[in-house]
Amino acid sequence: MAEGCISFRRTRPGTKAKDFNRWPDEPFEEMDSTLAVQQYIQQTIRINPANIDLILSMPESQDEGVWKYEHLREFCMELNGLAVKLQIECYPENCSQMTATEQWIFLCAAHKTPKECPAIDYTRHTLDGAACLLNSNKYFPSRVSIKESSVAKLGSVCRRVYRIFSHAYYHHRNIFDEFENDTHLCRRFTVFVTKYNLMSKDNLIVPMNDITEMNEIDHQ
């Protein structure tokens, strides 16, 4: 009934997976919901997940704090997909510590005292912790304006969740490649944290050649 009616952007029960959330695009200016930024980000991702420049180009007059916050929410959400894949082959027996290159062992910050969690637990705990923090009524009570002090928290979330990419890249390369091929998520994340200075370049240890080049261009 409403299927013929184009004016509704909603997915009705019974919709086939290929048509899920497949509705006509809506210009950002016309989105009047409090969730407009999320809507817009998801819409540009749906159009083409590989078009990272478009996905990360912020609409004019958009609050940058909210823009970064909503992107980080989207990253954490999509990282669930990587975590599901890791659950299949990343066991405490073979990955007893969270490592990427053998240089560092990362301690899990989800506990009262940081703990040397196995990689899969680190992954899950970090995503669960990020979900709690990013949904915290204390730090992020609104999705249309964000305090500067809360924006400062985004960097540490970025650093932690990035380790999931790096662990997958260095220890479960097949999973990483398959996931990256579908989502372009690590590439997008790298561009994102670089663009908004959320992580230092030294920590970006998953090689992304062209992005590094781009950074160099940025620096000049």
Binding site: M1, A2, F8, R9, R10, T11, R12, P13, G14, T15, K16, A17, F20, W23, E26, S33, T34, L35, Q38, Q39, R73, E74, C76, M77, N80, G81, A83, V84, Q87, P92, C108, A110, H111, C117, P118, I120, D121, R124, H125, L127, D128, G129, A131, C132, L134, N135, S136, N137, K138
Partner: protein, 735 residues
């Protein structure tokens, strides 16, 4: 008019600080007094306030103050004195006025509260009536069956008896008419009294506020009073008394204790419901006016003459007691009205009076609140025995009905308030399901996860009444949005259907698990594969531990998750594609009903045959279908904003209503089958009375994301919780 001298003095100092000579003692001012000033002020009246400007301008005149001479002459006024007095009075009035406005707001809130309570009582009554009718019907059926078995003939005598009942009921209706004269008389006197009061007040130009406060209250209560009267009349008429008894039987019910808390103890017949207390309060107020203003005691005297044994079977002593108490209290009431009149002369009194009034209210509430939780079912025979209920001729079944009502009482009396906010999902929450017994629920989201929540594990949220709950466990296995949920009857397992076409069976971790415990892959106990497209609906048949699923691949499947070969059956309707929702039919559990894009189809679960198919405009765009737990009804929520009720036996439409402002997405029926909860993309959830299909409560619960808002609603199977899931990534629990 008496004006304290020192007030004058202070005022003068303030006003003249710029222009007047320094004044250190009262005596020093005496020479300032001028005869001209005196004469001028001798004629000052209330309207002098208008001249305030000019006179303040004339600083010389304003210097005039009380002198020794002036004190000897009789009305001695000075300009600043009068001004100050007027200002003083004015600010006092303002103060009082704001006080009254405050009180008025308070009263209005109380009225709203009481009306809410009344609604609750009415709902309860309707439930009771409905249940009694159901039981009566069942009894009749049983009797007929018994009769047929015993005598081999159809029952005819019993039919006759029910016919009698109905004639009883119609004659009862006559009782209502005789009531009118009485109430209209009291209305008239009440109006007269009010008119008189208003006249007095207008004479001195007093504001209407005080009258309005009181009359608003009385009028709103009186509206109820009249209704209630006519309902009450049924009781004596049914007992075979003549309608003249009515006044008398009603009388001892005035619980004067509401107005004087100290007598609460000796009054045995306390009102057991809010509504009754309201009536009593109003009646008392009316009676007070009645007596005080019209001086008619006739009604009251008459009442003592009649014997009232038939109605109040018990002790006549008590009756005597009550009457005397009543009289006393009517006096108290009259006094109150007197106080009100005294206001006209002594303004200070008014505040005290209003306080006194609110004390009454407090005592009413004090008296009532503990009662209201248990009384309705204990005493429904007498106090809640409102018209319809009294008419029913149920003997043995009455107690059963009350027992049943005790369970529902909680549900129907309350109004639901948001208490818990479940925030941890990153995207729309598509589904939620409650644990059968614990205050635990699971939500499923577009963010690919399910989360487990324990409502007893909350984190205090600042500056809001609602509590935040942090999730205990996150279930990850779906590779896309999770669309549907179901839980088994022990709460040990839950099932989730996803856009990836999988149905995962999860073992629930302990409700006290550490959220950051290590990963246990065995919690994903099983995966049901078979669907090739999004699984949009799940339904669990608890007694048999069977699971139904609908998928966008066009099939409906029946599973027995514990078995070696879990897939039991496959249902397809040749005419239909794209099933949207499924449910077991609870009163005929071998059947199931499936909502398709174009029609609703009932299948025989064992043979897989289509039993009936409901098609037409009304069955298009159904988003959710649920079966009633007791009645032979299936209920649909559809994209055209409507909720429809079908009798599945006759495959006919029983009722249809436009229920929301936008597409209805979700439905839930409470475990007793009395209430229906619906959620819609219009951002609201609505609670419906299943019996009369009226909306009991509406709550705006979620925000929109694109054109989606509320995606699922649920009743807790055994605890007073309802929940809603929203596209705004939140779930909310109401208590």
């Amino acid at each position: 008019m008496k004006v304290p001298i020192h007030q004058f003095y202070e005022l003068k100092m303030e006003e003249n600080s710029g222009s007047a000579p320094p004044t250190s003692a009262l005596g020093a001012q005496n020479h300032n007094g001028g005869g001209g000033g005196q004469q001028l002020f001798g004629s000052v009246n209330v309207s002098v306030a208008n001249n305030k400007h000019q006179q303040l301008g004339g600083g010389g005149i304003n210097d005039v103050d009380i002198t020794g001479d002036n004190k000897e002459q009789s009305p001695q006024y000075s300009m600043p004195g009068v001004l100050h007095f007027l200002q003083h009075e004015w600010s006092k009035f303002e103060l009082e006025r704001s006080q009254w406005e405050l009180d008025r707001a308070e009263f209005q809130a109380k009225i709203a509260f009481l009306q809410g309570e009344r609604k609750g009582q009415e709902n309860l009554k309707l439930d009771l009536v409905r249940r009694i009718k159901m039981l009566e019907y069942a009894l009749k059926q049983e009797r007929a069956k018994f009769h047929k078995l015993k005598y081999g003939t159809d029952l005819s005598v019993e039919e006759g008896s029910t016919g009698e009942t109905e004639t009883d009921m119609t004659t009862d209706g006559g009782g209502g008419d005789t009531e009118t004269p009485f109430s209209s008389i009291s209305n008239i006197t009440w109006r007269q009294g009010r008119q008189l009061l208003r006249q007095y007040l207008q004479e001195i130009g007093y504001t209407d506020t005080i009258i309005d406060v009181r009359s608003n209250r009385v009028r709103s209560l009186l509206g109820l009073n009249n209704n209630q009267d006519s309902e009450d009349t049924n009781t004596p008429a049914l007992n075979g008394n003549e309608s003249t008894n009515k006044k008398r039987y009603r009388h001892p019910k005035y619980p004067k204790s509401w107005f004087s808390p100290k007598k609460e103890g000796c009054n045995k017949q306390q009102p057991s419901s809010i509504a009754e207390a309201m009536i009593l309060d109003t009646e008392a107020a009316v009676m007070a006016n009645f007596e005080f203003l019209a001086h008619t005691d006739i009604d009251m005297e008459e009442e003592d003459n009649d014997g009232e044994d038939e109605i109040y079977d018990s002790n006549t002593d008590a009756k005597q007691n009550k009457t005397s108490i009543m009289m006393e209290d009517v006096d108290a009431e009259a006094e109150e009205v007197l106080n009100e009149l005294n206001l006209l002369t002594e303004h200070e009194e008014s505040i005290i009076h209003v306080d006194l009034d609110s004390n009454d209210w407090n005592s009413v509430r004090r008296g009532m609140q503990p009662d209201s939780s248990r009384r309705p079912c204990e005493e429904s025979g007498s106090s809640l025995g409102l018209g319809e209920l009294a008419q029913l001729t149920v003997n043995n079944d009455a107690e059963a009905a009350y027992d049943m009502s005790a369970n529902n009482e909680e549900a129907c009396r309350r109004s639901w308030n948001a208490k818990y906010t479940l925030r941890s999902h990153f995207d729309a929450v598509r589904a939620l399901v409650f644990h059968p017994t614990e205050p635990v629920l699971i939500t499923a989201s577009d963010d690919h996860t399910l989360k487990l929540w324990n409502l007893h594990k909350t984190v205090p949220a600042k500056k809001s009444a609602s509590l935040d709950v942090e999730p205990l466990y996150t279930f990850r296995a779906h590779t896309g949005p999770v669309l549907s949920l179901a839980m088994n009857n022990t709460g040990s397992h839950c099932f989730s259907g996803g856009l990836d076409g999988k149905i995962h069976c999860w073992t629930l971790p302990s409700a006290n698990i550490d959220p950051y415990d290590s990963y246990d892959p065995s919690l994903l106990s099983q995966t049901l594969t078979g669907h090739t497209d999004a699984v949009w609906g799940l339904s669990m048949c608890h007694p048999r531990s069977q699971l139904l699923s609908v998928s966008a691949d066009g099939t409906v499947k029946l599973w027995s998750p514990a078995s070696k070969v879990p897939l039991l059956n496959n249902y397809t309707s040749e005419l239909d594609k794209n099933p949207t929702s499924v449910d077991f039919i609870w009163d005929e559990p071998h059947k199931l009903v499936v909502a398709y894009e174009e029609a609703c189809v009932i299948f025989d679960g064992e043979t897989g045959q289509v039993v009936s198919r409901l098609a037409g405009d009304a069955t298009q765009g159904v988003n959710r279908i649920v079966a009633h737990p007791i009645l032979p009804l299936v209920i649909t929520a559809s994209e055209d904003r409507s909720i429809r009720f079908y009798d599945h036996r006759s495959a006919s439409l029983a009722h249809s209503m436009v229920a929301h402002l936008d597409a209805v997405t979700s439905l839930a029926v409470d475990p007793n089958g009395l209430y229906l909860l619906s959620g819609s993309h219009d951002c609201s959830i609505r609670l419906w009375n299943m019996d009369n299909k009226t909306c009991v409560q509406e709550i705006t619960a979620h925000r929109k994301k694109f054109d989606e808002s509320i995606l699922d609603v649920a009743f807790h199977p055994s605890r007073p919780f309802i929940a809603s899931a929203g596209a705004d990534a939140l779930a909310k629990v109401f208590v």
